[in-house]
Structures are given as structure tokens and as C-alpha cells.
Symmetry: C2
Subunit: 249 residues, 2 copies
Amino acid sequence: MEGLQVIPVRGIPEVGEGADLSAVLLTAMEKQGLRLIDGDVVVIKQKVVSKAEGRVVRLEGVTPGKRAKALASRQGKDPRLAELILRESVRVVREGHGVVITETRQGFVCANSGIDRSNVEEGYAALLPVNADASARKIRRSLEAHARKRIAVVVTDTFGRPWRKGQTDVALGCSGILPLVSYRGMKDEFGYELRVTEPAVVDEIASASELVSGKLERIPVTIVRGARYRRGEAGAKSIVMERERDLFR
Amino acid sequence: MEGLQVIPVRGIPEVGEGADLSAVLLTAMEKQGLRLIDGDVVVIKQKVVSKAEGRVVRLEGVTPGKRAKALASRQGKDPRLAELILRESVRVVREGHGVVITETRQGFVCANSGIDRSNVEEGYAALLPVNADASARKIRRSLEAHARKRIAVVVTDTFGRPWRKGQTDVALGCSGILPLVSYRGMKDEFGYELRVTEPAVVDEIASASELVSGKLERIPVTIVRGARYRRGEAGAKSIVMERERDLFR
């Protein structure tokens, strides 16, 4: 088929700490009669990676400090969640209207340090993977070894953005794919040099995947087939804009 | 096929002012043996819409004012381009490092009021459509009348974003599709109520389309098939965050 396909991987069970995600994935794909081919991008939601990596925290065991209590009171949040938000961040970028935007230890700017309580057991919260690029790399290597194909892996999360309502899925981690496609110095058909054009192909792949995975069914993984990208190991962390170039920090 | 497909529409010729885009599109699709089906989303790049609507300006005919000259000098831009950027915006949100971020008359926050010089003749610049929702509506109605299918149309542009390098395609205008899918009040499988989850499905569709259309080949249109969305007429303008809720204006 010409163009791009996003194929849902069905039948992935609830995973716990220590789960071998690549094995879980290959089993589910096999049941579905789905085989990886060279160039496929396996797109995995952060939540399932966090669960496999034991990044799920019981709120009862969290003791909020003074800063967390103050933040929680200002923004109407659970003080234990506020404590986790502060622990997982290097600073609060903005707060207001019940929203707390932080910069995570990995450099991502997002709501609540990426912590959320959906799709986890009641009384628990899921933190982001410590290093989603490393998570993606580990899964890619294992999938490639088993399937004997060259593929890429993208770990995604759902982020809001300034100026526009709603959220889109973006890449938190990736392996086997360069996050940006650079057109710098290339010329369009009128001879005009494209100077700043660098599509964030990992984020576009994350968004394409979300159209299929949604939020309610258990489809934490999709296969994006037919995307053009360059193979490489820069990681999604390389997409974080340098502070000195960023007009919005 | 299960899942989502993004199909390129090939063979679309260069269009000029007054071109009937739906006729151009249907001709190209027919040559390709491609037929619209119910639920298809026709995704069209802003540039081709701007050209058809005569929103291409010859820079030689633009006389920069005092503000434009000062802005151009501060940010190293062509003063005539700076003049157009100011004319097409209601205010400058940020400037620095040669970048000018403005709020357009439609409320979109983007670089250079969305004006750019790629893929237009030398000495010219393309402005955004005056009302991309109206552009989308007109094309949708005409396509639906000819194809006798219920479809949606999204007009896209390439926007940068704070905190992350690179750009993604987003929706400037849409018709036949509600921009956001609301999960508010719905519960996940653990019984947790999703309170703020509203995927910006039009923006995700725009991004998925960019993976196929790219920047260099002449593929200004794709068909996104198999996306789940709600039919409606809110328009992409409804996605602009209210100023009083926006933490970044």
C-alpha cells in the first residue's frame, strides 16, 4: 500500500513491574497475525512503559512537604500529587487555573511533570520513565533481535500546548529514528532555500498513533508503517530546545 | 484495512488565483484511481489554498512602515516581509534570535504571522487564508456534492512550538469534523474519571498527513482514512485558547 498506515496492536494485557514489553508485544502481534517489516515504527504509550519499569507510586506512601502543600492549596490539587510533581521536576514553569506546568528532569515542559492517575489502579499515580530514550532503545533492540528486522521505537505521552486547546501525543523517547527531518539548505521547486524547516517526525508519528490508540480501549501500542525517517540514535531528549534559544522559558 | 491510512494525492498541478480546488483535487484523484469514501478526511496544505484564494503578495509592491523597519532591523528580516507580518497580526507575542512570533487576526500564535516564501515564485510571499475554516467548508461542500460522500476537510500549516525543536503540522481550518474529541467525564478501565482529556484530533490528523506530504515533493493533499472523529462545524478557530485561560500569552 502506498502512503502511511497506523495499525493497532490488540490484546496487550495489563502489565506489571518487570514485564518484558518486547515479549508481550510479540505475543500480541503473533495472535493478530501481524509481523514487523523493515522500517516499521513501534509506538508505545508511556503508561505501559512506566508500569513495566515500576514507575507507579502509591499516593498513601507520599508525604507532602511544605512547598507541595502550598502548591496543592493554590491550584486545588492533592498535596501528595503536588509533592510528586515537584520531586519529578527541576522547576515550575507556570501555574494557574488549576494547572501546573513544570520542566521535568529530562527537560520536557508539560503539565504535572507528566504524572497522571488515569489507567492506573485507584490510589496510585504513574510517573514518566526515568529515561524514555533508554526505554525505547531496550525495547527496539529486543524486538529487532527477535523479529530480525530493522525497526524504530517511539515512546509517547499526551501533552497540552500553549495557545491551543486540547492535547496531542508527542515523543518522550525514541530509538532507531532521528527525531527531526532536516530540510536545512535544501531547495523547493522554485529554488527557495528552506532554512528553518525541520519537521519533528517523531512527534508527528506519536500524533498519528494516537488517532488509532485513543484513550479508553486498551491499545497502548500501534505500528506506524510507511513513514519516511532517518535511522539514528539522537533520542527524543535531543528535541528539547536549548534554554538560551527558547523564547518561552 | 484496520487502523488508519494516509494516502497521498499525486499529480496536483501548480494552482493560481481563482482555481477551483475541489475540481483540481477530484481530477487528480480520478487519474490515481482514488475514490473518496464516507468518513475520509481530505487534508490540504495552506499554501495551495492561499494560492487559489489569491493570498500571494509581490514583495516589491510592499512599502514597509517605521515599525516594520525597526522590527526588520532588530531581527534581521526583509523590511517588506516584516511589514506583512505586522499587517497580518494583531500583536507580536515574542521576538528574538531572528524569530518573530505573532498572534494572527484569526488568533493563531505562530512565527511570522504564518507568512512564508517557500514554494512560491521568487519575490513573492504567501499569506494565510483570511478564514481557513471558511476555505475548508467551501471545499468540503463542493467535494461532498461531487463525490456524494460525507467527508471532512482540514487545511494545515507547519508551526513551530515552544520548548521543543522542529515543527509539526497543525490545523488552520476545518469543516465536517470537530477539532477536539472530548473524553471529559468518561471513565478509564480502572474507573478513573478523565477530566481534562481532549485530544486535538484535527492537529493529529494534520501531523499524520505531513508524514506523507513532506516538504519537497508536490503532494499538497492527502486523504486520511479510518480516523475516528465527530462530525461537526466548530472550526479550527474554536481551538484557539481563550486569552484568560492561557498561561503563555
